[in-house]
Subunit: 479 residues, 2 copies
Amino acid sequence: MAPQLDGYFKQVDKLSESFIERLRKAVAIPSVSADDERRPDVVKMSEFLVSELTALGAHVESRPLGLQPGKKDLHLPPVIVARYGSSPNKRTILLYGHYDVQPALKDDGWATEPFTLTVDDKGRMYGRGSTDDKGPVLGWLNAIQAHKEAGVELPVNLLMCFEGMEEYGSEGLDDFIEKEATPGGFFEKADAVCISDNYWLGTEKPCLTYGLRGCNYYSVSISGPGQDLHSGIFGGCAQEPMTDLVRVLGKLVDTDGKIQIPGINEMVAPVTAEEKSLYGDISYTMDNLYESLGSKTGIFPDKEKTLMARWRYPSLSVHGVEGAFSAPGAKTVIPAKVVGKFSIRTVPDMESEKVDSHVFKYVKDEFAKLGSKNTIDIRLIHAGNWWVASPKHWNYTAAGRAVEKVFGVKPDLTREGGSIPVTLTFEKATGKNVLLLPMGSSTDAAHSINEKLDRRNYIEGTKLLGAYLHYVAEEEMKA
Amino acid sequence: MAPQLDGYFKQVDKLSESFIERLRKAVAIPSVSADDERRPDVVKMSEFLVSELTALGAHVESRPLGLQPGKKDLHLPPVIVARYGSSPNKRTILLYGHYDVQPALKDDGWATEPFTLTVDDKGRMYGRGSTDDKGPVLGWLNAIQAHKEAGVELPVNLLMCFEGMEEYGSEGLDDFIEKEATPGGFFEKADAVCISDNYWLGTEKPCLTYGLRGCNYYSVSISGPGQDLHSGIFGGCAQEPMTDLVRVLGKLVDTDGKIQIPGINEMVAPVTAEEKSLYGDISYTMDNLYESLGSKTGIFPDKEKTLMARWRYPSLSVHGVEGAFSAPGAKTVIPAKVVGKFSIRTVPDMESEKVDSHVFKYVKDEFAKLGSKNTIDIRLIHAGNWWVASPKHWNYTAAGRAVEKVFGVKPDLTREGGSIPVTLTFEKATGKNVLLLPMGSSTDAAHSINEKLDRRNYIEGTKLLGAYLHYVAEEEMKA
Ligand SMILES: [Zn+2]
Ligand SMILES: [Zn+2]
Ligand SMILES: [Zn+2]
Ligand SMILES: [Zn+2]
């Protein structure tokens, strides 16, 4: 039978101003994890969550993660874990979010104070962390509150995991999750995982995200002279590392994104008919692409090829060069050592180590062709695996029904090009299905200036999170 | 008849400790022209020169250059001009030097305090500006003082031009020199110019420098997206400016320094037999090259080819990329706009504008081959011409005899790969021969940490400067 959600929805509407107030309080705490001096604010934000969750009747624990590696006397912010309900007759859903934010300064070009939630007449709520990820985290708290105040029982148990270092590499989190997912751990009873930390493909239609690309990030160093040289004095008589580096980097990928490294494209899983069929329905146009690029410099002429290129094919980007002259103006330096940075986005069925060995061999071979006396060193800086879940799992079908209920449309089934490493960590640690259920839209500008969350996405999103829990309970009964 | 220099030389030896004291006082004034906050120290250094020159009996003027372009309320340091002697029966030599210095911080890696002259047991005098260019400037003051105290008359008139912005582009100086070289100007009577602001080729043998390469510095911008993109989200679906840039930069020059741009090498003047003969005598070995490179990554196996590559052939260096990721670590950015910087060192008979048009055409052609939708913009940032003087001019033969007298060896006749733009300015403005007469040696590390001037170079160099004035007077009589 269809869940009775009217009371809950009405309560969300009734409480909407107080939910925005809750977000305002959270945005006002500049919990920037990348900035050591802001660490007390990150901790303050964790305390805010503890106090809000406690007031809602949840069992809450603030778990220390110890000292931050590489820093003296700097403690990592705690992981806030919470439990709401523990009925053995109910499914248990594990929720993840993060309460830290990207750095933000008014001087970066913000139109408003970044740590003051500012709502405009179109309901756009500007502020750092509004959409990434304080809005979604508070969405869960809002959902609990609205259920309580509407007198509607939550049909599932909730476990929560809110971390404070996501924007700085989730330092210490993997070990924590793995430990808590073992028997006796806090996350032991989780039946499925739901993460709300990504975005709709567009601005109108919600999506469920079932896949992420991985990323193998490389550095290629070329060094020659013992120190930087002046090009006037030495130009023409010494082999220059930068000359070699641009030649090598120029061999990696062509203008149309085709990776030139033999063996890489060969590892990509072929597109099945079933997979292909998922792309036709997706609400996306080339104009959407051009708008988000801010240009018409796309590679492919149509939606399907474009989305597949972003989601299910590998890509190679050259990010930059360390050690060369990078400031404005003119400096006549011959850099002694330059380090090119590039990465490959990986997809099924690419194996990370095989990718490395193809990359290493190719780069060394291309360098050898130059006949240079300089020295090359190519290495992997980090690797994160791709992830693909089954969009047919009850965790997804429940979320799909919830979207239809709240928004009146079937959600887009999307993948994403970027990685959200914690997704894979939860999947591996719990062995359960992981759903990415975004709240914000494609125009929210997470990590940029003028980050915002639309009022509609926040309030209807709160309804969606609650509705999802009801459909999850339903699906369970059918299962 | 050979000049009588014994009395002068003895007096220099006698005064040597006070000359070092003079250098110590000058080094203690951190006259860093690049640092706005140090401007009062640059001015203080100019006042030090005024006071020292006045005490020696010179006529001195501190000439304002007005406000620094692009800065609010920041005055350029003055040019100190001075006249010592104005006999109509004597030749007049115009001396140039600069009293500003490169930035220096102990934290950069200096073994000693950069603004405290520290003399070690091998007579190496460490300190910012010791060799570039306070030592040589004070060398002229020392020479005047020793003549006075020895009761030896200077056989030439001296004009001096000491500037305080050399390390920051000699802002305002060209116009000043051009104006003062016209009839009625301070430099009107100059018969030749002597600049002491470069270095010996090695550490044992002085040199006279008769040529400099020019430099055409280019930026090539490639832009596509409206803002930086995340490679996870957009990698594979958009043409990336950095991909195009490394491909274009990779076409400019090969590992062995051969410029790939058609038309450039064709403009180079052929080596004459006479010119070739100058190279055999030069005191230089491949080990000298390897020592200064700090590596064995030279292009040519022999001295002649190596020196010609540095002095009389063009070279192309890729300096770096602005707008890409250049910090340590890993950032998954697709930069929206990247600006490659490269420069070509020019030599006779390359014409600057022709170089530009070959470069522009080639870069645009290579970019067009990529078939990219991104936008390219290539432009010249600055150009400075090459310069070659005749080493047979009396200004050079006099200096050569002075070297033989003081050091007992014939000097190397050298050119330099880098540009000293003021050389060309003086030549054009006065129409007279310009001599580069260095005081410091190749190991002095101007612009680097642990800059030094050897005591021998300073004291014997002071003798050389004085002796040069005597031989200049002699040559004049023969002329
Ligand atoms: Zn996030
Ligand atoms: Zn984020
Ligand atoms: Zn200098
Ligand atoms: Zn200098």
